[in-house]
């Protein structure tokens, strides 16, 4: 009867083949479920592949004093105490095992002379903690997981974009989308769905993120009724490339500072001495980003509005060995040899701490049968993520989400029914750009929304600006009704962009509404009009959810940290 879409059926459907999605799929398959893994680009190309610096786990290989307690404390402090401490505890305890497991699956890290996994220092980590392979740790992680996954009996569907989660009453019933290649519609029936869809850095123009980071998964979850949390927390990585314009935003890994790189302003001053005399260049990202921002504001910026980052004193050999892709990246793209001259860097949007609100141990969202792990999930990183904590997050919570989704799927008696009307409504939405004549260009609209975000929801925010920005986003949402695409449904980027833009606008709205609500400065959220931390806000997370077709903002209490764990946090401070 319904042959306008192709149907697939699995116990568990995993959306996203980054670190989180792959790890979840492996776990669900190992638990005995039929697993379909879906991603919108080719396998092995997900955003995770770009991760450079390393994966944080308290192995204590180079600093034996390190342990989960210290990692816990560092992470809580970095997140300014609005993290879900239960997640952080699980995370700090399980990360080492996840790293060793990667090694058992064929992953290779740099080694110490004693034959153990080498660890490097990173911002706001007390000890040397980041397991790494040169500056391509993400590639190692994704390739290892990918090879494990294809031999675990998982079915991979590449270049399929999901645009809507299907529900049977309250619970999840599957997902609907299209194949990029030919535009054919697909319905995946599933007992449980895991989101591993990553972040939405692409709502900003200057970002280190790849094109996939349009936040589809988060927006879909929201549309399916899930709660989103901490959406105001957008991480600006202090060191993105600045010049030439084409590469603006591309990441300069924190490992450059981990390996001894030093930040200086135009006058040659090591300005971090003023902002964080103790941790200096390896302070947490929010602090360093603000420092660079303030230096530029004070007229001490580099020629293209950033700071200088110098690693040349480490010598060509070390640089080429420990930071090969940085060396190549600057040589090829910016004509700069970093073994001789400093790089010019400025903050770039890098990571979103917020996302789908999940249960600490299981990754379950507020929608039954819908799970989330990785960057799309919120709670672990609080107001600011520490470098290297994302990759271990992907593994720890990817695995947990996979296991719990599998358990949930097995307990499901009756297969949820797919409601054809939901699919049909989505198809109508998807096809509308072909009908709208003379309407809006999705690429132009994307650029405009990026401009709004950069101007009104940047590093430094004020209530007034945020309110203005929200108005602009709402206006863009109106215009997005008129998006137009030419051509056919065969691999058509213009058409694909139409849906992406709508997802992004939803998330932009969530960022603005949450940022307006949080009337204090904390972590990545810096309000010039409320420059101080406010303990009442320190006890609350901001949550948005859809009700009656509108976005509602509310707060949830931050789970109170038990006394023994609080002591851990205080100790190191």
């Amino acid at each position: 009867m319904t042959d306008w879409y192709e149907t697939f059926e699995y116990d568990v459907v995993v959306i996203g083949a980054g670190g989180a999605g792959l790890r979840a799929a492996i776990a669900a398959a190992e638990a005995g479920c039929a697993v379909g893994l879906v991603c919108k680009s080719l396998l092995g190309k997900a955003h995770t592949v770009m991760a450079e610096g390393g994966i944080a786990a308290a192995l204590g290989n180079v600093d034996p004093q390190d342990g989960w307690q210290v990692h816990f404390a560092d992470t809580m402090r970095g997140g300014q105490m609005i993290n879900d401490y239960r997640m952080v505890e699980i995370f700090a305890k399980e990360a080492p095992e996840r790293v060793y497991e990667l090694e058992r699956w064929g992953g290779l890290f740099d080694r110490t002379p004693e034959g153990k996994i080498l660890q490097r220092p990173f911002g706001a980590h007390t000890y040397r903690r980041l397991c790494h392979v040169g500056d391509r740790t993400g590639l190692e992680l994704i390739r290892t997981l990918q090879d494990k996954a294809v031999h675990s009996g998982i079915t991979v569907h590449m270049e399929v974009t999901f645009t809507r989660l299907l529900r049977d009453a309250e619970r999840i019933a599957g997902a609907f989308g299209y194949r990029r290649e030919d535009g054919r519609f697909v319905v995946f029936k599933a007992k449980a769905v895991i989101l591993g869809t990553g972040g939405w850095g692409k709502v900003y123009k200057v970002t280190s993120n790849s094109w996939e980071c349009t936040g589809d998964g988060c927006a879909m979850a929201y549309e399916a009724g899930a709660e989103l949390m901490d959406m105001e927390m957008v991480q600006f990585h202090p060191t993105g490339m600045v010049w030439p314009p084409g590469v603006r935003g591309i990441l300069v890994t924190e490992a450059v500072r981990g390996e001894g790189g030093i930040l200086r302003n135009a006058k040659g001053e090591r300005f971090m001495e003023r902002y964080d005399p103790k941790k200096l260049d390896l302070s947490s990202r929010d602090v360093v980003s603000r420092a660079i921002y303030k230096e530029v504001q004070a007229g001490r910026g580099s020629p293209h509005g950033g700071a200088f980052l110098d690693i040349s004193h480490r010598g060509a050999e070390v640089i080429k060995k420990k930071l090969p892709s940085m060396h190549e990246q600057f040589l090829k793209l910016a004509d700069i040899d970093i073994t001789r001259s400093p790089m010019e860097v400025a903050p770039t949007v890098h990571y979103v701490m917020g996302g789908v609100r999940v249960e600490a141990g299981t990754g379950a969202s507020t929608v039954p049968g819908l799970y989330a792990a990785g960057e799309v999930a919120a709670g672990l990183h609080g107001a600011n993520r520490l470098g290297g904590n994302s990759l271990s997050d992907l593994l720890v919570f990817g695995k947990r989400a996979g296991e719990h989704a599998a358990a949930y799927a097995k307990a499901v008696r009756t297969l949820p029914a797919v409601d054809g009307r939901q699919a049909a409504a989505e198809r109508a939405l998807l096809q509308r750009p072909f009908d709208a004549s003379g309407g809006e260009n999705p690429f132009t609209l994307h650029e405009e929304l990026q401009d709004v975000m950069g101007t009104y929801a940047g590093i430094a925010r004020t209530g007034e600006q945020l309110a203005e920005g929200l108005q602009k986003i709402v206006a863009l949402q109106k215009r997005a009704e008129q998006l137009h695409a030419g051509g056919s449904m065969l691999f058509n980027p213009g058409w694909h962009a139409c849906r992406d833009v709508r997802f992004m606008l939803t998330l932009c709205e969530a960022i603005f509404r949450s940022a307006i609500e949080r009337k204090e400065s904390r972590g990545a959220h810096w309000r010039l009009d409320c420059p101080d931390q406010d303990p009442t806000w320190g006890a609350r997370n901001i949550v948005v959810a859809q009700s009656d077709g509108r976005m509602q903002v509310s707060t949830r209490p931050v789970p109170p940290v038990p006394a023994d764990l609080t002591r851990l946090v205080r100790q190191g401070a």
Partner: protein
């Protein structure tokens, strides 16, 4: 503003043509920027793959002025005033414009026996730098498949059902030389892997954006390992009489 002339292949496997676009040049611009400009301002239906725009994911492979390149790493100013011709990767079936069907590679990958450590050795492992250092090079591969495109066995001799191609020789090398792997894949190399079809003419090595010495460090050492097992009468004799195990470490 100065402009560059782009000739971009548009169309499908059986019909298509180069279409010319004028694209304004900005400083330090790469070919992928030009393609994006075309998508955003001239024709939104132009299909191409890309993800990272930082030469890390290997999605944006194409043939730029006749050479397999990553579009995001190929500077426009490299060509001076010459027009820039961008065509899809030739060895794989075309889907549309610059997008080709690379699924063959994923099927090949699946045929390679996975990493197999000793099940009784759960770790954490000791692996010394000297044991793993040569593997890092192979692990750098970003699967851009440029080497597959340029390899004449695949490109000119329709070798897809006989030879896995340089990319997968690199992958097999990484597995074979892993100190903790217990499996031998020389039978695969000699058989369906088809390493004998490679005549070590090194075109793959010339195009690899990760500068992997595909031929010298992966393929030739693998050929030698295969020779150990299949082309060495002396060793065969030793094995027959001495029962001498392969001296490969673990």
């Amino acid at each position: 503003m100065a402009e560059a002339r782009f000739h971009v292949f548009r169309g499908y496997a059986k019909h298509g043509d180069l279409v010319t676009y004028q694209v304004p040049i900005t400083e330090g611009m790469v070919v992928l920027d030009g393609i994006h400009y075309i998508q955003a301002h001239l024709d939104g239906t132009l299909a191409c793959r890309w993800n990272c725009k930082a030469a890390k994911c290997g999605s944006c492979s194409a043939e730029v002025n006749g050479r397999p390149r990553l579009m995001c790493k190929t500077r426009v100013d490299e060509f001076g005033a010459r027009p820039i011709t961008v065509r899809p990767i030739k060895v794989f079936p075309l889907i549309k414009d610059l997008v080709t069907d690379v699924s063959w590679n994923y099927r090949v990958n699946q045929q390679i026996p996975p990493f197999t450590p000793d099940a009784n050795d759960p770790g954490p492992w000791k692996m010394y730098p000297e044991d793993v250092e040569r593997l890092y090079e192979f692990r750098k591969c970003i699967e851009c498949f440029l080497c597959q495109d340029v390899c004449h066995v695949l490109r000119e001799h329709e070798g897809m059902d006989r030879y896995m191609g340089p990319r997968f020789m690199v992958r097999i090398a990484a597995l074979e030389m892993h100190p903790k792997d217990t499996r031998s894949r020389t039978d695969l190399l000699k058989g369906s892997g088809g390493i004998g079809f490679c005549n070590i003419t090194k075109c793959c090595e010339e195009v690899c954006p990760e500068h992997i010495h595909i031929t010298d460090n992966a393929i030739i050492p693998l050929k030698e390992r295969m020779a150990d097992d299949y082309f060495d009468p002396w060793r065969a004799l030793l094995r027959l009489f001495g029962g001498k195990k392969e001296p490969r470490g673990t």
